[in-house]
Every structure is written in C-alpha cells, then in structure tokens.
C-alpha cells in the first residue's frame, strides 16, 4: 500500500519512530490472562486503542487486539464501560 513509513512528514518536525513496547519487552505471546497489561491498550470506554495511540507494530497490535477480545469473552475486561 502506498502509505508513507518513516520518512519526514509533510511539514512539522520529523517523526521519531517509537519502538513497539511488545518488541522492546520481547513478548512472545500476548496473553489474554494478563488483563492488567492489556488495560494499557484499551480506552477508558473499553474500546481497543488505535495503533497510532498504542504505538504497537502491526503484528503486535493484532495480537493485542485478539488478546483483548479473548479477555472480554472471559469477563476479564469489559465490552463497554459505563452504560
């Protein structure tokens, strides 16, 4: 896909690429049981945060998202907060 990666963005200062936290911590498997860790990747509404917010790499964002969904299924994380 023709999306720009790490080059300097049009206008503004050049992007500093932040390493993905999962890559940095060498996480082999995004565990759905570790729901407190997954809390970092959901909004206070309970929604999965976008990659531009979480700073995860595509692979780990996907893994985190499925872990969140598993955790929701087992009532470890909420589907919606404040209803």
């Amino acid at each position: 896909m023709g999306r720009r990666r790490n080059g300097p963005p049009r206008g503004g200062r050049p992007m500093k690429s932040k390493p993905c936290v999962f890559c940095k911590e060498n996480v082999a498997y995004a565990d759905y049981k570790d729901y407190n860790m997954l809390r970092r990747f959901i909004s206070d509404r309970g929604k999965v945060r976008a990659r531009r917010v979480t700073g995860l790499c595509p692979q780990h964002q996907r893994e985190a998202a499925s872990a969140i969904k598993r955790a929701r299924e087992m009532a470890l994380l909420p589907y919606v907060v404040g209803r």
Partner: protein, 123 residues
C-alpha cells in the same frame, strides 16, 4: 484439527492447550475442586494429560453473566488426546456449573511458563 487420524505426531510436537473456566459462585471451594476434577478425568480418560489447575479464586466479572456478578476462575494446562478437545468442549457446554469456558492452544514457546496473576480477589 489434525487431518489424518492415525499419523499421531511424536512427543516432539504435542500441543499444549489451556482451559479457563468460570464456575458459578453458588458453589463452595470444595465443589469447585470437584467440578474441575471432573474435567481432569475427562482429559485423562481421552488420552490427554492434565496439569495442576490454577485456582484464581472468586473474582468479580467485568460484566454480568446470567445475572451473576462473580465467579470462580480456574486455569489449567493440558495436552490432548485424539478425542479430548471434542469431548471436553461438549461436556463444558452442557455443564450447568460452568458459566463460561475457553480453550486455547498455547504457542510452543510459551507453554509451561509460570502464569502471572492472580490479583484483586474480591470476595
């Protein structure tokens, strides 16, 4: 699922699975143990090997399930025989004392690692 029935892989690549159950809060600790024991027997009877269950204890659910706000969480690792998964899932589905269950295959690199948890046990 394995395609060919009798080409059982040797020890080298036997998959480890993990089951998580939410048992209804009406039971007491001992009954929960019995319930889990029942599933361990099923695993072993069908040719799998059940690990020690990890009892998280009674926890609050993130949302209500069947008008219940808490439940006993139990996590257990096991290896599966040929019929284990089908049989286990079937029995789990019809068990009235299990609110919810989930069986996942663990990545080979992750199996047998100590499990982080449990925290915040709310009575």
């Amino acid at each position: 699922m394995a395609g060919e029935a009798d080409t059982r892989p040797e020890e080298a690549n036997i998959d480890t699975y993990e089951a998580m159950l939410i048992v209804i809060p009406e039971l007491d600790e001992e009954q929960v143990e019995n319930t889990v024991g029942r599933f361990r027997t099923i695993i072993e009877r069908t040719g799998g090997e059940a690990g020690e269950p990890n009892h998280w204890g009674r926890r609050k659910l993130a949302y209500e399930i069947d008008h219940r706000t808490d439940g006993f969480y139990v996590v257990m690792e096991f290896t599966a025989g040929e019929r284990t998964l089908v049989e286990l899932k079937r029995i789990l589905r019809v068990s009235d004392d299990v609110l919810r269950h989930m069986v996942v295959k663990l990545p080979p690199s992750y199996a047998h690692k100590p499990i982080p948890e449990p925290t915040e046990v709310t009575a």
